[in-house]
Structures are given as C-alpha cells and as structure tokens.
Amino acid sequence: MLIRLFRFLQGYVCFCAADGFPERFLNLCANNRILLWNVVCKNGVLRAAAHRKNYKRLHACAKASGCTLRLQKKVGLPFFLHAYRRRVGLLIGLGLLIGMLTVLSQKIWSVEVRGNERLSDETLLTYFAQNGLKPGVWRGHTDIKSLEAKAMQDFHAISWLSVNVHGSSAMIEISERVEVASETDDTPQNIVARKDGQLVVLEIYAGQRIAKLGDAVTRGNLLASGIVENKDGTTRLEHARAYAVAQTRYAHLVAIKRKQKTRTIGSIKTHYTISFLGLRIPLGCTPREQDGKILLAQELSWMAGGKKMPLALERRSVLRLEESAVLLSDAQLCLYAAHALFEEAYDNLRGTKVLEQNAAIKMDSMGATARLEGTAHENIGEAAAIASGNSMPAEE
C-alpha cells in the first residue's frame, strides 16, 4: 500500500513491448538499472510499469532488443497536476482554503454553557461576550483564568466555573450554589385566621391553644397564642405554630363584555441578517421596533455534528398590529366567561379541598356574568405579630 502510494506520488507509466525479444529487453532494463514492475508476458507481448522518468531510457532498450514500445497509461499525481497547470484559479482557491482553515481554526466558533439552572444562558453568554469570550475572537487572546475568576466574583450564584476551550468551541461548565435553608425563626408570633369559617382541624405545634375544634372563626381571630402561661402564673413568649383547617365558603364573579377589542396582524415585514463569527451582514434595511409593532427575532444556526457553527441566519420580522372591535356571539361569550372564571378560580382554590360548588353564567345584550360559589376545606392559619388587639373567637 505504501509502495503504491509512493509510486502514485512519483508518477509512473504502463507500457507494452511487442515483437522482438522480450527477455533481452528485460535484461537490458536490469543492466541499465531501470526498475520494472507488474511485468506480464502473454502471447509474446510484454506489459510492464516503470517510473515516468525512466520511460525515455526504455526506448533505447527496446530498440536494442527489437521491441516496439507503446505507452498505455499514465498514472500518478504529476500527470494530474500537469493537466491543471494552467488553471491558476484552482491554485488560488487551494491557497485561500488553506489560509482560511489556518485563520479560522485560531478563532472561537461557538460558546456554550452547561450546568446552569437558575442563571439563564442568555445572561451568561452576554456577560462572557462583554468580557471577551464570544464567537469570532482569537483563541489565544482570551485570558481564561482571569475570566473565570472574574465571573466567580460577579455571580454569587455560581459555586464553581470552568471555561474549557476544545479546538474552536468554548464550553462554560457551571455548578450553581445550593442555598442552605436559613435557621428557624424564633420570633414570637401568633397564629390567626385569615378567612371566615368553621374549624375542622386544629393542630397546635407550639404556643397556647386559644380556639377549639368546631369553633366558628372570623378573619383575624386568634387560633394559637404566642404568649404562653406557665404553671407558676408567669408568661413566656413563643413562636406559635399551628395547622388550622376550616370549612369556608367562597364565591367568584367574572364579568365579560360582549364588545371586545382584538388585535389582528396587518402587515409583516421580514429582514434577514447573516452572522458569521460575530460579523453581521444585513441583507436589506434593518427594521426598528416602533409603536404598534412587534419585533420577532429568530436565529437559524448551522449545526454540524451536534455542534453550533459560527454561521447563522437571523430573521427579524416586524408585525404591524391593527386593533378592531368585535361583537362576540353567545357561544363565544359563554366560552370567554368560562375561561376567565376558570383562571380566577384556579389561582384562588389552589391547595383547597372543594366540598361542593355551583357555577352559573348569565348572558344579556351587554355581556355575560359567570359566578362560581361553593364550600371547601382550606388552611386558614397565618402568622401574625403579637399585638394587644387579638380577640377570642365568638362562642356559639
């Protein structure tokens, strides 16, 4: 294989020698130190291969042995290059290719972040771009160590950071700091009711029990006191903690007008920008965000082998929105009202156990009113600072 490669690089010719004395031809070649290979003699015709530089010397041997020499094939790189010797453009292109490869391999093509959860990619990439690590910068010109130290100082949420440059891509490996839970708060406090209802569960973990199971409480009533009376008649202050579940009633009301304002897309203008190693080449006028317009930006990066290449096409679309009034039909109105009621109820009834509820939607010419009411079990205990205004629950 290696010999074949060397022969290809040097170039060789395949020829045939007919008539005369092939054996004498071979002996003369050997005496003249001409290397022959792939020598095949069939029906008096000798076929062989020799180096291209020896071909002229073969003629003398052929003449002496009475053979007629005929060239069959020219193989090798010198013959290939000879065919393209007048194509200057190819040579220039090859030079440009080698030059581009040499230059581009010295630059950072892509920067990626890995390991971040709370900090967004955009924040980190913007920070590192401002500090000199971005696509298009020279690989050796960035002081990685000082950049790592600076980023560690600037981002408190990062506990460990490493910038690894592999070839032309930079990988920022991050480990975020795990926040340790703060110590328990021992500030004296009471537990009061934040809503009207009847207590169905009351578990006191700290503090003095004030309300009893089954009591009806109103908003602000004391459930557990942080002022605890000792057996000797003295008092002490505690951080009261309790779990108080009460049966409460709730009602949600949502009104929707029949006449609604809608925004429709009037016109779309799209502009493209080619981004190459940080160099942005706009293909047309760059749009600006104006009133009544929405700017949408989308970047289409060229990915190769799972790696982001430095070539990207950015598409920026400006949408002109037009406002108009629309009269909703009964079905649309009903759907709008139900959706609005659901959104309101979803936020307020989170963490509660609904016992029973009724929903109703009333529609007229102006709009619709959706109402949801019912009873539920929910935690009504909330912490409150110790004050003199806390009252005892009303006894039934």
Partner: protein, 107 residues
Amino acid sequence: MPRKTKETKQRRRNRALDAVQEIGTQFDLPPQVLPGYSHIEMIGNREAMIEGVHGVLTYDEHTVSLNLGRLIATFEGCELNICSFQFGHVILGGMIAAIHFSNEQGV
C-alpha cells in the same frame, strides 16, 4: 578469438568459485556468505523472491528461466508474472508448480 578469451575467463572464474566453496565447506561456513550462491525465498507457491539473478533467459506465462550465474532456475506454473525486476533481484508471482535447476551445460 574474443569468444575463446571470454570462455577462458568464465572457466577461471568457476574454478575460483569452486575453490572458495570447497574452503567454505571445510570450515563449515554458511553458504549464503560465500560468493556464487543465489538466494531464493518462497511464500507458499504464489511468490518467489530471487536474488543473484544475472538475467532472464525465457519468459512467458507458463515458464520463466532465470540465469543465476552457475545455475539456471526454471520456474514452471501458470499466470507467472514478474512483480518487480531490478538488477540482480526478481520477485516472481503467480501459481508456481515446479522449479528446475540445471547448469550451463543443461545437466
């Protein structure tokens, strides 16, 4: 006259080689260090490397005769070809069926 002179030289040379080989045999020297011997190395019956070749006597796809100085080696087989041919060195390929050795007198 010139032919006679050449034959005389050849005979003298053969006599000298005989003497050297006789001395080598007496001293138990390995034959490859003595002059006048050719070296043949075979890989199965598909390839033969021959050193000390003085020339090709006959060559076709069934028979190749090589002049090894004091010997003539005839390789018989089918699809015989010379893979490489340099001065004194031949690599013979193909299906080698037999090798015959004879001296200049054909014995």
